[in-house]
């Protein structure tokens, strides 16, 4: 009983498939963002939120690469800046933003989305 479960959990870690989601307000840019995140080797999941001139991308780094989180964020931000120069981009590998992004994916009201994104950007800057 325990063995197949352990097996499945182990295999989940070896899974090459990424979970990439973008919110509805994206359009064709959603495909671009997905492509960039697909190429990024070091993450296994990503969520992108488009609202007005903001783009927030929350990713989760692969387990053993946690210590390189800041570098991954920087690289990803650079790549996204090239593709989306007109957007104000925020990239984070923090679990909080990832979790909140999940909730924002289905949010229809763009005002609320904008508010939330602003709040999350502020949270990201907090040190303690």
């Amino acid at each position: 009983m325990a063995l197949p479960i352990c097996f499945a959990i182990l295999l989940m870690g070896c899974n090459d498939e990424k979970t990439l989601e973008v919110n509805n307000l994206g359009g064709e840019e959603a495909e671009e963002v997905k492509a960039i995140m697909e190429n990024e080797e070091s993450i296994y999941s990503g969520r992108a939120i488009f609202v007005e001139d903001q783009l927030m991308v929350a990713v989760q780094a692969k387990p053993w690469l946690d210590y390189k989180k800041t570098k991954i964020e920087k690289n990803l931000k650079k790549k996204l800046k090239e593709s989306f120069p007109e957007y104000d981009i925020t990239v984070s590998s923090d679990y909080k933003l990832y979790w909140e992004a999940q909730k924002l994916l289905d949010e229809e009201d763009s005002e609320k989305v904008k508010e939330k994104v602003e709040k999350l950007k502020k949270l990201k800057k907090e040190e303690t």
């Binding site: 923090d94 679990y95 909080k96 949270l123 907090e126 303690t128």
Partner: protein
Amino acid sequence: MNQEQFEQIEQQITPSTPYVKNVLKAFLVGGLICTIGHAITYFYIIFFDFTEKTVGNPTAATMIFLSMLLTGFGLYQKLGQFAGAGSAVPVSGFGNAVISAAIEHKTEGFVLGVGGNMFKLAGSVILFGVASAFVVALIKLILVTMGVIEW
């Protein structure tokens, strides 16, 4: 009966420390405490506005609060007798050391008793923790200046 003969007898009769069992118990209990700590971390991230960077403080505070309750009710010592290092090493063990010393010295008043003796056991942890952090930071500074690693 001279000392050598006695020492032989003593060695034979004194039961040996069950290291393997103790290590396993410490590992399991220590891991459990850390798992609980992580569950509390996720609780704070999901239900409150903390990020991974900022959640360390409330998590440690909550763990210490729980350790305080267990110590006050006399339960932490039972856990300690079972787990050994497993309950002594995490932050809850540090809390237990400080809190138990504070409870003990209440009879001598708050300033000289509680205040003066609270860090009887934990004082060395604080001192050597700060000292080693300084040394590690110094080493990192040297390596960064030499260009071996980056900040």
